[in-house]
């Protein structure tokens, strides 16, 4: 006698009924429903701006709704599940049910089904609401299957698991409050702590697990996902069966008890097997990479062949590929080569290798070693035909990326996306060079010299055969031989090749004899409706954008065509050490995420709404529909493809993609040029970084205020410890690495540029690059060009640049801004004095920027003037600029120096006409160095030993624990957090603060006077002293209320006549020194105390000055 369906149904029905009547459930589900509706309104209507990803990928609509519902239901289920097992002895109603004729299986399963049913109804309701938003408001396609997948993959396993766990805990602990605490603790810890870790294996709620469903390829890792959900489903079922065994009711059927026990154990075993599969899959990847790196380390380093030409025949066979590569290798090594080393993805099996003169081959992991019958003489060529088949092992990609970064999440807001590097499915293929999908020369990545990256410019032909109805996209001129058969004829030598195959439709525009292709997945045209008026103008707009971009870079686009190709949202690339290029950008090709999600400029509906609102508010001039469409188009191009590269880390919507990921810049340098060096492998990256400088946005005034130390400053601190070559050899932090290469590179080139003149230098560099397109050149060639054509020997500088450790340090003073009469014109003049106070040469870069950044997005670029000034050891210069525009800011970039902040910003409010001033545009050496402290004054800065901040221990234990757990080590200097100022004194650097080389101040949250800073000084002569306090009024835009108020500062001054407690009204004070009054002070120690008692938001404690009164 087994289970009774009738009994189960009866119990489930009553359970459902009682649950639906419970206020707890009603209130919580109504709350969840209400919140989700409120949440959906801004997301899917036009009520407020939200990240495009929420609408761009239709499946994000059910995804985001189920994700939140799931957290709520996981908690509610705990409460409901534990209720029925309450062991209240008095409650004999349970007993009249328990003594009825049914098995424990009937009872527990009935209860489970009852609760499940109620939650599934809730899911259905939520999904219906989501579907309504999807269909009627979001303006994006409705994908029905996503509405099935998410509840099945997310809700069902989560509920079964948490119900089973709650039942079991209740049976074991037999105390409802204790069970709640244990389970809620478990939920919270998985949600906030364990969820994102350990490859999400503990994330039973899937709050952190990648679940984004691509319209092109579906889920990113369906096998992993099924395993993950299978684990929790099995565990949940196992717990339920254990509950049947362990419930405190006398069993009625031996067979049910036995079967339940067996099933529970079997399900636990199944879960264990799935955990093992999942974990071993991850570990296997790690091991593979470790082995590959180790193998590459053994095989790399020795000279190898170059590939001159390649004819690749590739057949797409559903879930795999078959390739035959006819390769012409060339010996450029200068010595006979006994082996040719190639790299090919270890997921691809080599089925045959043939050489002109016969050969053998060995394969180990990704390395294919071909041993020719005769060594290849220097300058000699050989032909090698390599046949292979298989698919891409994505674990073998990105050997240079550390495991921690790999495990890091890829998310848009809170939607998690699987990271994928290659796709081969029957309907879609995406392969990039990182996949090693064709044989390339060398070991791909050499751990012994990670920056050394061989580049062959190859005459590369590709033939592709795929299913009829699919379109292949790759570099070169596409020829469609037959349905499903394509040839890509090389037009330029290619450093690498990528391939996409899919249901693409192609849109082509020709502008300035360049072909622009857009490869869209069928049905993905969401944008045409926004560009109805400018169809005929688009070619000229493209040409203009291209021209702008190239003018800034001083380089020309080298290919006859550019293709934008849609790729699945899961396609992910990591930043590299040796280049700014990511796999998303390929020669003549950019892979954009499907429907432009993850791109900020791609939500055209939202941008149009902004335009309309701006027009309503009367901002800017009235623009016609056509003009608005032009703005929209230019905005997209500028933000995504051909605009400035922003280094901002903070982006709205929490999308963790670099804005530079799709920038076309690699098509101007990395894919075209290669400056190789055996010893200075970093040089190619340094040139790349230097050339990109005109399109890199400087960090903004406010960013500097908010972010604490910039990466440049961290680089400077690192360079004070170790020299460039030492840092490179131990590079582990990619961000730091890129910054250091950029800063050091710019420094070296600015040095040359300053010596020979900017124009001469840039002309030379551009012509050098122009004549060396698609060719690898040696640094020696570049340096000898400098010597020959510019008369500058860069050699000794390079030596110091690479191995030197000394840093300059600058003091800046007497900044003077006025209008001057220059001939008959009024122009804008800024003069200042700057000293290098360190015994080493250095250079600074001064930039003036026009105001009004707000409109920059639509109207293009503003005026900007840049100049480099070299300062010898202990040298002082007076510098003058006469400008045609009124600058809003001057920023002095101290480059590699001891200065903090490393960029000193000055904001100009007003330029008044000074008729007497002589225009001075240039620089002159002066004898008197910058002196920040007058001899008779006593100045105590917060950096000085005389300044003491009261150490505070009041930081909450929880906060400390949280910070420690999450490895959030605090830097010495933090950003200024207006919204949550620290409860202790924290140091921050900022241009407007007082200081010598370090312009810093301490700041804290205003309070009741419990935190103090004391400035101590030694008075040498008794007398009256004027005491001053240094005020920096940090202006924060658009803040009112207490947070935005400057307030009054409360001081305590000990003097000979007693104690005075002056208040300083910061709102009415000016920036700089403000008097606190004159006091008689006797010889000896004195002090000024500032407390945190204030009616303002934050207190900034910077510097105090004592000046003898006359």
């Amino acid at each position: 006698m087994m289970l009774s369906v009738y009994n189960i149904w009866t119990i489930a029905r009553v359970e459902t009924k009682t649950l639906l009547r419970s206020w707890f459930f009603r209130v919580l589900s109504l709350l969840a429903l209400g919140l989700l509706i409120v949440f959906n309104i801004p997301l899917y209507t036009e009520a407020a701006p939200t990240p495009w990803v929420f609408r761009g990928i239709s499946s994000a609509i059910p995804y985001v709704n189920i994700l939140f519902l799931n957290v709520v239901q996981a908690i509610v289920a705990v409460f409901l599940a534990s209720d029925f097992l309450k062991r209240d002895r008095k409650l004999d109603t349970t007993e009249v049910i328990y003594m009825r004729s049914m098995t424990n299986g009937d009872y527990v399963l009935g209860k489970t089904f009852g609760i499940m049913f109620v939650f599934l109804v809730l899911n259905l309701v939520i999904l219906t609401v989501a579907a309504i938003f999807n269909i009627f408001f979001a303006g994006v396609p409705f994908i029905f299957r996503a509405y099935l997948f998410y509840p099945l993959l997310v809700s069902v396993p989560t509920l079964v698991f948490i119900l089973g766990l709650s039942f079991l805990m209740m049976v074991l602990i037999r105390n409802q409050p204790a069970t709640f605490i244990v389970l809620l603790g478990y939920i919270a810890s998985t949600l906030f702590f364990f969820g994102p870790r350990y490859n999400h294996i503990l994330d039973y709620m899937t709050f952190h697990t990648p679940l984004m469903y691509s319209t092109i390829v579906g889920f990113g890792d369906i096998a992993g996902l099924l395993l993950h959900r299978g684990i929790y489903l099995s565990l949940g079922l196992a717990f339920i069966f254990f509950t049947i065994v362990m419930i405190r009711r006398l069993p009625q059927s031996r067979s049910i008890t036995i079967v339940s026990r067996v099933l529970a154990v079997a399900l636990i075993a199944a879960a264990a097997v799935m955990v093992h599969l999942r974990v071993s899959g991850i570990l296997r990847g790690r091991e593979l990479r470790r082995d590959m790196v180790e193998l590459a380390g053994r095989s790399g380093g020795e000279p190898g062949v170059s590939i001159e030409a390649c004819a690749l025949d590739l057949k797409h066979t559903g879930a795999g590929i078959e390739g035959t590569a006819g390769i012409t290798v060339l010996n450029r090594a200068g010595i006979p080569l006994e082996r040719y080393v190639f790299s090919l993805n270890p997921g691809l099996r080599v089925t045959g290798v043939e050489c002109g003169g016969g050969c053998g081959f060995e394969r180990e992991l990704h390395i294919l070693t071909v041993i020719p019958a005769q060594p290849l003489v220097p300058g000699g060529r050989d032909s090698v035909i390599i046949s292979y088949r298989g698919s891409i092992d994505e674990d073998a990609c990105y050997l240079d990326i550390d495991e921690e970064s790999r495990a890091g999440s890829y998310r848009a807001a809170f939607l998690n996306i699987a990271k994928r590097h290659a796709f081969i499915t029957p309907g879609f293929v995406l392969l990039t060079p990182e996949n090693m999908w064709y044989p390339s020369a060398g070991v791909h990545f050499n751990p012994g010299n990670p920056l050394h990256h061989t580049v062959d410019f190859i005459d590369f032909t590709l033939n592709v055969t795929t299913e009829e109805g699919l379109t292949a996209v790759s570099q070169g001129r596409p020829v469609r031989n037959a349905p499903g058969s394509f040839t890509f004829v090389p037009e330029r030598p290619l450093p690498c090749r990528s391939l996409a195959i899919g249901r693409y439709e192609r849109r082509t525009i020709t502008a300035d004899s360049l072909e622009y292709n857009l490869y869209l997945i069928e049905g993905h045209d969401y944008f045409s409706e926004y560009f109805t008026e400018i169809g005929d103008t688009i070619p000229s707009l493209i040409a203009e954008r291209k021209q702008d971009f190239e003018n800034k870079l001083g380089l020309h686009y080298p290919y006859p065509r550019l293709s934008l190709v849609e790729a699945p949202v899961q396609f992910y690339s990591y930043p590299r050490l040796w280049t700014a290029a990511r796999e998303t950008v390929q020669p003549g090709m950019v892979f954009l995420p499907e429907r432009g999600v993850m791109l900020h400029g791609a939500d055209f509906r939202m941008t149009r709404n902004f335009q309309k609102r701006a027009a309503k508010r009367g901002r800017g001039e009235t623009r016609t529909e056509r003009e608005q469409q032009i703005d929209l188009f230019n905005g997209f191009i500028n933000r995504t493809l051909a605009g400035n590269i922003s280094r901002r880390r903070f982006r709205p919507g929490g999308i963790n993609l670099d804005s530079s990921m799709f920038n076309l810049y690699p098509n101007y340098f990395y894919f075209v040029h290669h400056v190789a060096s055996d010893t200075l492998a970093v040089f190619n990256a340094a040139i790349e970084s230097f050339i990109s400088d005109p399109i890199v946005e400087p960090s903004s005034y406010f960013a500097q205020m908010f972010q604490g130390l910039t990466s440049e400053e961290k680089v400077n601190l690192a360079l004070a410890e170790r020299n460039f070559s030492q840092i490179l050899s131990t590079a582990d932090d990619e961000e730091m690495f890129n910054d250091i290469v950029k800063i050091k590179g710019r420094y070296l080139f600015l040095l040359v540029q300053h010596a020979v003149g900017e124009e001469a230098f840039m002309d030379h560099l551009h012509s050098f690059l122009g004549t060396n397109r698609f060719r690898t050149v040696d640094t020696g060639e570049l340096f000898s060009g400098f010597r020959r054509d510019l008369g500058f020997d860069v050699g000794p500088h390079v030596e110091r640049w690479f191995h030197g450790k000394e840093q300059a340090g600058y003091l800046l003073a007497d900044v003077n801004a006025c209008k001057v009469l220059d001939s008959d014109r009024t122009r804008f003049q800024v003069t200042f004095k700057v000293s290098n106070v360190e015994p080493v040469d250095g250079l600074i870069q001064v930039t003036f920027m026009e105001g009004g950044r707000r409109f920059r997005r639509f109207t293009g670029n503003l005026d900007e003037i840049k100049r480099t000034i070299v300062l010898g050891a202990d040298q002082t210069k007076e510098v003058g600029f006469v400008l045609d525009f009124q600058p809003r800011t001057m920023s002095v970039n101290t480059m590699i120096s001891k200065n903090l902040p490393s960029i000193l910003n000055t904001v100009f409010e007003k330029f008044e006409l000074n008729e007497k001033a002589e225009p001075f545009d240039g620089e002159r050496i002066v004898e008197v160095p910058v002196v920040l402290r007058e001899p008779n004054e006593i100045v105590v800065d917060n950096e000085d030993p005389g300044c003491e901040a009261q150490a505070d221990v009041s930081q909450s234990v929880l906060k400390r624990l949280f910070k420690r757990t999450f490895g959030e080590e605090e830097d010495k200097y933090i950003g200024i957090e207006f919204w949550s100022p620290p409860g202790t004194w924290k140091a921050s650097v900022f241009s407007e603060f007082h200081g010598d080389l370090v312009r810093s101040a301490l700041y804290t949250k205003a309070g009741k006077g419990d935190r103090k800073v004391t400035w101590n000084a030694e008075i040498e002569r008794s007398g009256y002293y004027d005491i001053y306090f240094y005020v920096s009024k940090l202006r924060r835009p658009g803040r009112r209320g207490k947070q935005g108020k400057f307030g009054h500062y409360h001081f305590i001054i000990q003097h000979d006549d007693g104690v005075d407690e002056p208040m300083l009204d910061i709102g009415n004070a000016g920036d700089g020194w403000n008097s606190l009054g004159a006091y008689y002070l006797s010889k000896g120690a004195t002090s000024v105390v500032l407390t945190n008692e204030s009616d303002g938001g934050i207190i900034i404690a910077d510097a105090v000055k004592w000046v003898p009164a006359r």
């Binding site: 009738y6 009553v14 409650l91 007993e95 049910i97 009825r100 004729s101 006398l250 059927s253």
Partner: protein, 294 residues
């Protein structure tokens, strides 16, 4: 129907010996379990309705072992626990319907008929749509009785069913039981109210400290105390002394003194007369002096 309880003992995990060597045979009709609170009646009943496992001994129902045939035995049982409260979120008829379903009434139409009939019988038909928890105490009790009786159980176990009922309801309930007992069923009725037993049971057991001290028809029990029930005429000052000396059943004021009913073997020196004993006398006598007399 036959229930045979043989050498049944129950020792709780805390060492509390609740039942010891119980031997009872029950046949059709109402079987009364009489005993003071804590005597072990409830434990015995919970064992009978399969909520509790005996420590040793056996119970067979129509030769079916209670341990091995829970399915069959549960299917023929109805149970009203001592302290019965309602399911919080169900209406009166829904609750009864739920129990009826579990008792094996699978046909929806028959079940509805049975539920309605039962509600009529216990006088709850008019409040059938009221949430069960909003019923008055007496109504809840009646619903408890109804759920124990629904589905034509062959064995009905009722634990202190009449506590909380007013006299009218109590009489009605006794009549209901009597009526049912005419069918082929066993009704096990536990109570400490002697009147419940004397008016309905044809067989009974007296339970004391986990043991059965008497098992048989109530009449025989009464016979055993014939000659031990007395009425003492006590003057005012004597009442306290009488109460201290004898177990008192009742004391009624009568003409400047008291008529005190007591059970005892002898009552000298007090003046009195023998009474025709009833079950109450017998109960008190056995509680006081044990089965073998003083």
């Amino acid at each position: 129907m036959r229930i045979a309880i043989n050498d049944l003992s129950k020792v709780y995990r805390n060492g509390n010996r609740a039942l010891q060597d119980i031997n009872i045979q029950m046949g059709n009709g109402i079987f009364g379990l009489l005993g003071p609170n804590g005597a072990g009646k409830t434990t015995l009943m919970r064992i009978l309705v399969t909520l509790l496992k005996p420590t040793s001994g056996s119970v067979t129902v129509n030769e079916l072992d209670l341990r091995k045939h829970r399915r069959e035995i549960r299917a023929m049982m109805g149970y009203l626990p001592q302290d019965f409260r309602m399911f919080a979120k169900l209406r009166t008829w829904e609750f009864l319907d739920y129990v009826a379903s579990l008792s094996g009434l699978r046909n929806a139409r028959e079940r509805t008929r049975a539920v309605d009939g039962m509600l009529e019988q216990v006088g709850l038909f008019d409040v059938r749509d009221r949430p069960a928890k909003k019923l008055s105490g007496g109504m809840k009790r009646r619903l408890g009785i109804a759920q124990a009786l629904i589905g034509d159980p062959k064995i009905v176990v009722v634990d202190e069913p009449t506590t909380g009922l007013d006299p009218g309801e109590r009489i009605r309930f006794r009549n209901l039981l009597s009526e049912m007992s005419r069918k082929e069923i066993i009704i096990v009725l536990s109570t400490h109210i002697v009147g419940d037993i004397s008016s309905t049971c044809n067989d009974m057991a007296l339970v004391h400290e986990g043991r059965v001290v008497y098992n048989g028809p109530p009449g025989r029990l009464i016979d055993k105390v014939r000659g031990h029930a007395w009425a003492i005429d006590a003057v005012d000052g004597e009442l306290e002394a009488v109460r201290e000396r004898f177990p008192v059943i009742s004391s009624i004021p009568s003409g400047g003194g008291w008529e005190v009913q007591v059970v005892a073997d002898r009552i000298d020196p007090y003046p009195g007369r023998p009474l025709e004993p009833n079950l109450e006398h017998a109960y008190v006598y056995f509680m006081e002096y044990g089965l073998n007399g003083s």
